[in-house]
């Protein structure tokens, strides 16, 4: 079976500073991997490379079989990104925001209407559909941005520090959505500081430090979070 993500010898240099050094990584379809690492380890850079926001200095990345430098548009279609930025336009209503991004991903007409309605229900914003996003509370914005990221049914979800600033309500919505049947099959790659929550959700743990993976293992190898922290805590500094 084709891997959802396949990274070979990936490196990225900013100016003269190497940020990622010859990374290799394969993610199977449906896998939920979380990348931990100290600040400046290159976690965000890794996500930006996979999502085609920046180009690699060397090596290759394939997402669902598409090369990120050769077919970036096909790659982007596969990806749903949830970042600490909300990616929403304040002057547009919730519905208009979803409409706009839906069309940008090539969803149209009835299908888009249905999809928007369904997602607004799932994130609990159906009654606020026609209100401007700038009037939303932080938590509401976060829930809407979750809906935005899932709109085009991405096969690969990239989660950049999703818990930073996520309020309890939004966290719950988020975790429920991730477990929902619709997204059971999608691959998830999360970058996080929050060891406990990240560990709880994932089935594979990676630790990135100074541009290299220093640990790669499965959750089942540990009896629980305590054991993981004892064994791997030292790699996180």
């Amino acid at each position: 079976m084709e891997n959802a993500v396949s990274i070979r010898e990936l490196s990225k240099v900013f100016g003269k500073t190497p940020v990622l050094k010859a990374l290799d990584l394969d993610l199977k379809k449906g896998e939920f991997a979380v990348v931990f690492g100290p600040n400046g380890a290159g976690k965000t850079t890794l996500l930006k490379l996979i999502s085609t926001l920046i180009e690699p200095t060397g090596g290759s990345v394939f997402v669902s079989g598409f090369n990120i430098t050769e077919e970036p548009e096909k790659v982007r279609k596969e990806i749903g990104m949830l970042s600490h930025d909300s990616y929403l336009y304040g002057d547009l209503t919730a519905k208009e925001n979803l409409h706009f991004f839906g069309k940008m991903y090539g969803i149209n007409g009835q299908e888009l209407e249905k999809r928007i309605l369904q997602l607004l229900n799932e994130v609990g914003l159906a009654t606020k559909a026609d209100e401007r996003v700038s009037t939303f509370s932080r938590g509401m914005k976060q829930r809407l941005s979750i809906a935005r990221a899932l709109l085009h049914r991405p096969s690969l979800l990239l989660l950049d520090e999703p818990y930073t600033g996520l309020d309890p309500g939004a966290s719950l919505v988020f975790e429920n959505l991730l477990k929902s049947p619709e997204f059971q099959g999608s691959t998830k790659l999360m970058v996080s500081h929050d060891l406990e929550r990240g560990f709880a959700l994932c089935d594979r743990v990676l630790i990135l430090n100074k541009g290299k993976f220093v640990y790669d293992g499965f959750k089942v190898n540990f009896s629980g979070f305590q054991e993981f922290r004892e064994k791997c805590g030292s790699m996180l500094t």
Partner: protein, 234 residues
């Protein structure tokens, strides 16, 4: 490094000697020039012999910026950025000199320091584009981003200059034509080997001056990069 600076040294010596020759020719070799009416032109006419080479080289330098900018965007190697910014710096100097020599000449020939004629105005535009390029570089700190964004501006700027030329020509054309058939107005045709030879030697002199300044600048920038990378390494 050592051989590079020796080459620059040789270049500098060559520049100085050709420059001396050029100045000598300007004052002692060049015969008096008469216009169509047979009257001897004032001495300020000699400015033309270095005004024009400097002007051409100021455009040439921007051509280097343009080419280096395209190459930078193609393979994102900072060496092209060094060429671009060095050429831009020397080019700014030359563009400034064009305006100065042009103004002095204009004052003597027409009684005004500044006239809105085609070539002088185009040179002014070139100078302004150079200034804008420099301002952009100064506003950016991160080397990669600075190189990338100024490359984009370098390309746009280079394309805008010939377009400026055509629009200024449309607007106003009162400059004497130096070559070609139409020699009306206050200028005159340039004929005679002595004149052409003087122009050629001056052109070579200023071209060598450009090369010297450019290679000194490139070397300085390289050393600075070296210093920076060592500082980061520590």
């Amino acid at each position: 490094m050592a051989s590079n600076s020796r080459k620059t040294g040789v270049l500098a010596v060559a520049t100085a000697s050709v420059m001396l020759l050029a100045i000598y020719m300007l004052f002692f070799y060049l015969p008096p020039i008469k216009d169509e009416a047979g009257e001897v032109l004032s001495g300020s006419f000699r400015i033309f012999f270095f005004h024009m080479p400097i002007a051409i080289i100021s455009y040439l330098a921007f051509g280097v910026v343009f080419a280096a900018s395209i190459l930078y965007l193609r393979d994102k190697s900072l060496k092209w950025d060094i060429y671009a910014r060095s050429a831009a710096e020397v080019g700014t100097l030359f563009a400034f000199l064009v305006l100065v020599t042009g103004s002095i000449w204009a004052k003597d020939a027409w009684g005004w320091y500044w006239i809105w004629d085609l070539r002088l105005t185009t040179s002014l535009v070139l100078f302004l584009v150079y200034l804008a390029y420099t301002m952009l570089r100064k506003a950016l700190e991160e080397p990669e981003k600075r190189a990338r964004l100024s490359a984009v501006f370098g390309i746009l700027g280079f394309i805008s200059v010939p377009l400026s030329f055509f629009s200024i020509r449309l607007w106003r054309s009162a400059h004497p034509l130096m070559f070609g058939g139409n020699t009306g107005g206050s200028g005159g045709g340039l004929e005679g080997t002595a004149l052409q030879l003087t122009l050629l030697v001056n052109f070579i002199a200023y071209f060598l001056l450009f090369l010297t300044l450019f290679s000194v600048k490139v070397q300085n920038e390289r050393m600075e990069e070296e210093l920076d990378s060592r500082r980061y390494a520590e």
